[in-house]
Amino acid sequence: MAAAAVWTSSSHAQKPSMPVIGYLCPESPELFGSRLRAFHQGLREAGFVEGHNVAIVYRWASGQYARLPALAGELIARDVDLVVAPGGAPVALAAKAAGVTKTIVFEMGGDPVQLGVVDSLSRPGGNITGVSSLSVDVSPKRLELMQELLPAATTLGVVTNPTSPTAGSQLQRLHAAAETLGVHLKIFSASKAEEFESVFASVARESANALVFTSDPYFAFRSQRLADLAMTYGVPAITQTRDFPLAGGLMSYGGDFMQSHRRAGIYAGRVLKGEKPADLPVQLVTKVEFVINLRTAKLLGREFSPSVVSGADEVVE
C-alpha cells in the first residue's frame, strides 16, 4: 500500500505537464471532507481527476483564518497553476490580497460584488471568478423562519462573527428584517469556538428566546458543536448549513454547499482547459435548502406548523 503510494507519487513527479491546483482551505480535512468530495466531483465532470491528469497542493488553515494569507503565499511560492479558494469570503479575500497572479476560483456564501472580490457577476474582471451559495443573502429568511416558529417571541438572539467580512452587511439586513417582522434583536458575538458556550449560556439570562446564526463559514464548520450546545442549553437555533439539523440542531436555511463546491470544481476544470476567468461569470447556486429536525423540535417542546414542514426540503424525524 505504502509502496503503491510511493510509486504513484513518483510517477506523478515524472509528468511535468500535469497542471497543479493550489487548494487553500480554511478548515481541516476532516471538517471539509464533504465539500472536498463535491469539489472533486465537479473537477471530474470537467475532465480532471486528481493524480491522473491534475495534481492538487492542499493548504489547511484548520480554523485559524489568520493563517490564510501566509498559506496563500505558500501556494504562490509553489507556483501553482490555479488557486481554489473555497469555504467563504475570508479565503477568497486572503488569496486575492496575497497577490495570486494565477486564476483564483472561489466558493463563498457572500455577495462577491459587495465584497469587492469581483466587478460584476457577469463580468468578474481580473483573474478571479467562482460560485456564491447565497447563504449570506438569506440571513433575514432565517430570522423569519425563527419568528414563525416562535410567533410570541419579542426578542431573538443573533450570533455574528465580528471577524467576518460580511458581518456588517448581514447585521444591517437583519435589523431591517426585524423591523418588518416586529421583533427585537439581541446581538451576540463569537469568533472562536471557546466563545460559543458563553453565547448559549447568556441566551437564557438575556430575554432572547432563540438564536439565529449569521452566515459564516466558521459557524458552518462547527455545526456539531453548535448543535450540542443548543441541545444542552435547550435553545432553538437556526444556522446556514444542513450539517446543523443533521447533527441534532433545530433547523437550517442556506445555499446548497454541495452544489456550490461542485460548480467550483467545474470552473477549476474549465480554467485548467484554458478558459479565461473573465469569461466565466460568477455563478449563484440555484438551490437554497431548508432542513428541519422534528426530533429536536420535540425535545425542545416546539412544534413546526404544517406549512413549514411541507415547505422543508428535508425533514429529520
Binding site: 457577469s122 463580468r123 433575514p140 429568511k141 423569519e144 428584517a177 461569470p281 437554497v288 406548523s305 411541507s310
Partner: protein, 575 residues
Amino acid sequence: MIVRDRFRGLFPKYFLALFLAVALPLAINGAIEAWFGYRDQRARLDQLLGVQATSAAAEIHNFISDIASQLGWLVQLPWTDEADDGRRTDALRLFRQAPAIVSLTLIDNNGLERLHVSRFGLNRIESRTDRSADPALVGAHAGRVWFSDVSYNRGSEPYLTVAIVGNRPAVGAAIAEVNLKLIWDVVSAITVGETGLAFVLDRQGRLIAHPDISLVLRGVEETTSRPFRAIRDAIGPGEGFATSRDAQGRPVAASEAPVAGPDWTVVVAQPLSEAYAPIYAALQRTTVLLAGSTIFAGLLAYAFAHRMTEPIRLLEEGTERIGAGSFEHRISIQTGDEFQRLANSFNRMAGELAVAQQHQERITKLKRFLAPQVADLVDRAGDDSVLDGRRTDVVVVFCDLRGFTAFSAGVAPEDVMSVLSGYYEVLGRVIAQFEATLISFSGDGLMVLVNAPVPVEEPALRAVDLAVEMQKRVQGLITNWRSQGYQVGFGIGLASGPATVGRIGYDDRLDYTAIGSVVNLAARLCASAADREILIDTDTATSVRGKRLIEDLGSRQIKGFDEAIPVFGISHDAL
C-alpha cells in the same frame, strides 16, 4: 522512336476515344451520384434538424407549461376575506415541486396581494397591496396565462415572470418569478448529433438558455447574444435549415422552432463538418472510385489502343520491308481478327511477289538460251532441274555464212554489223519459232540444240524443218546482199545422237551447252556444207526419211573422223 510515333497518328486517337468512352460515363455518373447524394443528405439534414428543433422547442415549452400548470393549482379556490394558511402551505409545497420558481405572489379577486413567498426575501402575508394595475395581472386577465419579457437578475441570471388567472374571477391570480437558469437541465440534455447543441433566445434575441451556463449568465450583454442572434436571423422565415457561424466562427447548420407562450425561439445548431460528414464521406468515396476507375480506364484504353495500333504498326513496318524487297519478311499478327487476316494476305502477297520475282529472274536467265515460250514452259515447271547435266539424244544444228571472213575484211564495220544484225534477227526468230535452244553464236556461226533441255516431239524432223526455214530466210537475205555486191553464202549442218547437256560457267555467267561427238559431227557437216546446202547425218536422215525429201550425197571424208561417213542433204527448194 516507336513510342514517339505512338503519340502521333492513331494511337492517341484510339487512346483518347477509348479512355473517354470509359472515363466520361463514369465521371458523369459519379458527378450525378454526388449531386443527388448531396441533395438527399441536405434534405435528410433539413428534416433531422427540423425535427430536433421542434422536439427541443417542445421540451422548453414543457418546462414553462409545467410551471404554468403547477401555478394552476393555486388559482382554483375562491378567495374569502379571511386569512388562509392553507394557501401558504400550497405555496411552500409548490416551491419544493418547482425549484425554478424564486418567488410566488397570490392575488385575490379584487386585485389585492394576499400572499407573497420568496426563497430569498421576506414573505408578505395579507399585505393587501393593490396589484390590480400590475402588468402581469393585466396580461393574465387578457390571455389567462401571461409571460413577461426576460429580465436579468443582478445583470446576470435570466428571470421570467409568469402570471396565471383561474377560470373565474373569484379564484384570483398567481404570479411567479422563474429563474430560467434551471432550463439548463433541459437544454444541456438535448443532443443534436455528436457535438451539436440547442439554445434559446427570447423575443429580443437575448440568450436565455445554452448548455454553457456561463454564456447564459452574460446573455444580457450584446456581445454574448449577437452571434446566436446571427444564427437565428440566418435561418429566417424560409423553409429548411441555414448555415451560419457560431461564436467561435465555426460554420454550423441550424434550424429553429418557436416556443409558443413566452414567444421564444429554440435553435438547434450542428457543426457543419459533422452535419455534412456523410456528404463528405460520400464525396470522398466517389472521388476515390472515380480516380480508381479513371486510372483503370486509362490502362484499359492504353491496352486497347495498343492492341489496335500495334498490328497496324506491324503491318506498316512489314509492308515497308516487303516494299524494300525483303520478300522473305513475314508479318506476325496473332489477333485472330481482321488484322491477322490482313497480315496473312500481306504475307501471301509477299510470297507471291517473291515467287514472281524469282520467276522473272529465272525467265531472264533462261531466255538467254531458250526460246521465250520454252523458257516460260521451263519456268512454269517451277524447276531448274531440266537444266541439270544429263545425257540425252539431241539434234545439234550448226550454221554459218560462207565467205563472210573475206566479206568482212572488205567492207566497213558498220556494214558488217548491219549484215550480222539482220542475219541474227532472222535466225533468232526462226529459233524461237521452232522452240530450239540457242547454245552459242560467234561471229557468223551459230549453234542450236533441239530436244534439250526441253524434249520435243520428233526432234529430228523439227531440226530439219528449222534448218530449212533458216536456209529459206537467210537465202532471202543473201539475195539482197548479193544485189549489193556482197559475195556470201549460208550453210547448215546437223546431226542427231546422244550428248551430255547442261549448264556450264560460273555465277551469272552460265550457259547451256552440249558436249559429245554429235556436236563435232554437226559442226563438221556444217563446215563441209556449201552455200544453200543442208547436210545431215545418217541418224537424222533415218528419222526424217519419208517425211522430208532426202538426197543421199554418199560418204564424205569429214575432218576429225577417221572413216568417211555417209552424208545426206535436204533440198529446201523442194519444200
